[in-house]
């Protein structure tokens, strides 16, 4: 059914596949970038991925403006300021983020500072505060999950005030995303599983949340199809290039879908569990997905039923009577979680994720102030959230 009104936007050019990385100098030239700064973390450097990126610039005539590889796993204001300093000193004119969520968010925030020529990141926090286009940002994801290469959000921690600031603006979209199978081959199974479940939660929430539209739907369904076929494969056999590229594409499709349809309660709880109890984002997504879908069932049964086709495949879909399809989708999500637990002990409950029970109240309180709740199809009060958390506990 068409919404009575919707908006869709995604300005990111995507290049994907074999040797995609090696076309980066050409793309930077098109963007008129002559001295890009690479922003990444130690894990990426240690895996030898930065070397692969630098290799791609051989014979290109482009001089790199530096490699900053000290981004911590929770991007913070201090690091952003530090990198903005490097960018200015080395007279860079573009940014390349290589990594998972943290380097990408950090690069987006650095771009705000160097483009707006400010030094106080805080003044740009919130939604729609930026007023002008930023410098070109290229993203090379090294995980398949967040979809940050095609979203307009950055979250940065301010340790001195113990808060996370979120920045959302259409200007935060990267200009280019490079999906190269070489970049995700070495991720260990646990992280592969968690990030894959993050992508799945993006796609599934995209189909079931209030801001869904025909375009986000098409992207999300394509993403779920790829995840259904490839997630277990890449967790079991990490060096499978084809499956890795499929997962990178799935994460990217899901990212483009959810940044237009928005996400709902799975993410409200996940953000809160991350902030209050340090549960890694993908792990939280995997834990909450089936519980939230049970909770949302009254409003989303037809959409959940449709998910069965891409997620379970045509035979599964045809063999399940229409009235059972929504339930069946949730059963398959639980089965997938079980397989991932068997393969790499991906936590199924908050207890397995080592959350102490006395934190549930604080998680619930934080969750109901999360913006994503606006787009959840069913109303959620503090009591509802707490009940759900208790169910997901053990």
């Amino acid at each position: 059914m068409l919404p009575s009104y919707y908006e869709f936007y995604n300005p990111v050019k995507i290049i994907s596949g074999e040797k995609a990385l090696d076309n980066l100098p050409y793309e930077l030239n098109r963007l008129q970038v002559t001295r890009p700064l690479i922003i990444t973390d130690k894990g990426v450097t240690d895996a030898g991925l930065v070397k692969t990126v630098i290799r791609a610039f051989a014979e290109s005539g482009i001089i790199l403006g530096g490699v900053y590889d000290d981004v911590p796993s929770d991007s913070s204001v201090t690091v952003v300021n530090d990198i903005a300093g490097v960018f200015r000193r080395n007279e860079c004119d573009g940014l390349i983020a290589v990594g998972g969520g943290s380097p990408i968010d950090t690069a987006k925030a650095v771009n705000i500072l160097v483009s707006e020529e400010g030094d106080n990141l805080f003044q740009f926090a919130g939604h729609d505060v930026l007023r002008r286009p930023l410098k070109p940002l290229v993203v090379i994801p090294t995980t398949a999950g967040t979809g940050s290469e095609v979203t307009y959000v950055a979250v940065i921690a301010d340790p001195s005030r113990k808060v996370k600031m979120s920045f959302t603006s259409a200007y935060l979209y990267p200009r280019l995303a490079v999906l190269d199978p070489r970049m995700t081959l070495s991720i260990p199974p646990g992280i592969t599983a968690a990030t894959g479940m993050d992508a799945l939660s993006h796609a599934m929430e995209a189909v079931t949340c209030l801001q869904k539209n025909p375009i986000s739907d098409a992207l999300a369904m394509a993403s779920i199809d790829l995840i259904g076929k490839n997630l277990l494969k890449v967790v079991a056999h990490g060096r499978d290039e084809e499956a890795r590229l499929a997962m990178s594409n799935a994460a990217c499709l899901a990212g483009a879908a959810f940044s237009n349809s928005m996400v709902g309660l799975v993410h409200s709880l996940g953000h809160a569990a991350g902030g209050v109890a340090g549960v890694p984002h993908g792990v939280a997504m995997s834990i909450f997905l089936p519980y939230v879908f049970d909770y949302n069932m009254e409003k989303t049964a037809p959409d959940l039923a449709r998910l069965l086709l891409p997620f379970g495949g045509p035979e599964e879909y045809a063999n399940t009577p229409p009235a059972h399809r929504a339930r069946r989708t949730i059963e398959l999500i639980r089965a997938l979680r079980q397989s991932l637990y068997d393969l790499c002990q991906l936590p199924r409950t908050l207890k397995e994720a080592e959350v102490s029970r006395d934190k549930l109240e604080a998680i619930a309180r934080t969750a109901i102030n999360d913006g994503s709740l606006t787009f959840n199809p069913v109303e959620v009060t503090y009591d509802d959230a707490l009940l759900l958390l208790r169910e997901a506990y053990d």
Partner: protein, 174 residues
């Protein structure tokens, strides 16, 4: 021959503007009245800083409504006053009209990006919860069922608050 192509000045939408302005006035005054009496709203605004200001407006600048937290309650500050800590913007007068005449629910308006928030999102969530309670006072249940995902509960004693808002709050700004 030279083609004549003159500047075009689009007209006005006086009626819809007037309706939206009136609703802003009603909302502003009932925010004030309800913040004195409703415990759920009080609990929400406890977490806001003293002097916190929010504004609702229609793109580009008017009509608008500004409400400020002062001495623990919300005070309606009229339609002029520049900037606020949190701004809720309707993208067009038509969108505001749809919402204010209950043809489009507030949650649908957000879902359809007819309304956007500029500022701290967690504060906006708190404000939307207050707004939901307020709508529960202002409209009968059958309309609330249509415009809200799940209308907040309305125990019998809240009918007194509703009467206060209707009889004193909105007409006299008390």
């Amino acid at each position: 021959m030279e083609t004549s192509c003159l500047l075009v000045k689009p007209g006005r939408k006086r009626f819809k503007s007037l309706v939206v302005k009136t609703v802003f006035l009603i909302l502003g005054r009932s925010f004030h009245a309800a913040s004195k009496l409703d415990l759920d709203i009080k609990k929400e605004i406890e977490t806001w800083d003293e002097g916190f200001k929010f504004m609702m407006k229609v793109f580009p600048e008017s009509p608008s409504m500004i409400v400020e937290k002062r001495k623990g309650i919300l005070v309606y500050r009229g339609s002029k006053g520049g900037s606020a800590d949190l701004t809720i913007i309707f993208k067009s007068i038509e969108s505001a009209f749809l919402v204010f005449t209950a043809q489009c629910g507030t949650c649908r308006a957000f879902a359809e990006s007819r309304v956007i928030v500029s500022g701290d999102i967690s504060k906006a969530m708190s404000l939307v919860r207050c707004l939901n309670i307020l709508q529960r006072y202002l409209f009968p249940l059958f309309i609330n069922r249509f415009i809200l995902k799940r209308p907040p509960s309305m125990p019998w004693y809240k009918q007194f608050i509703r009467a206060y808002i209707y009889l004193l709050g909105v007409p006299f700004g008390l």
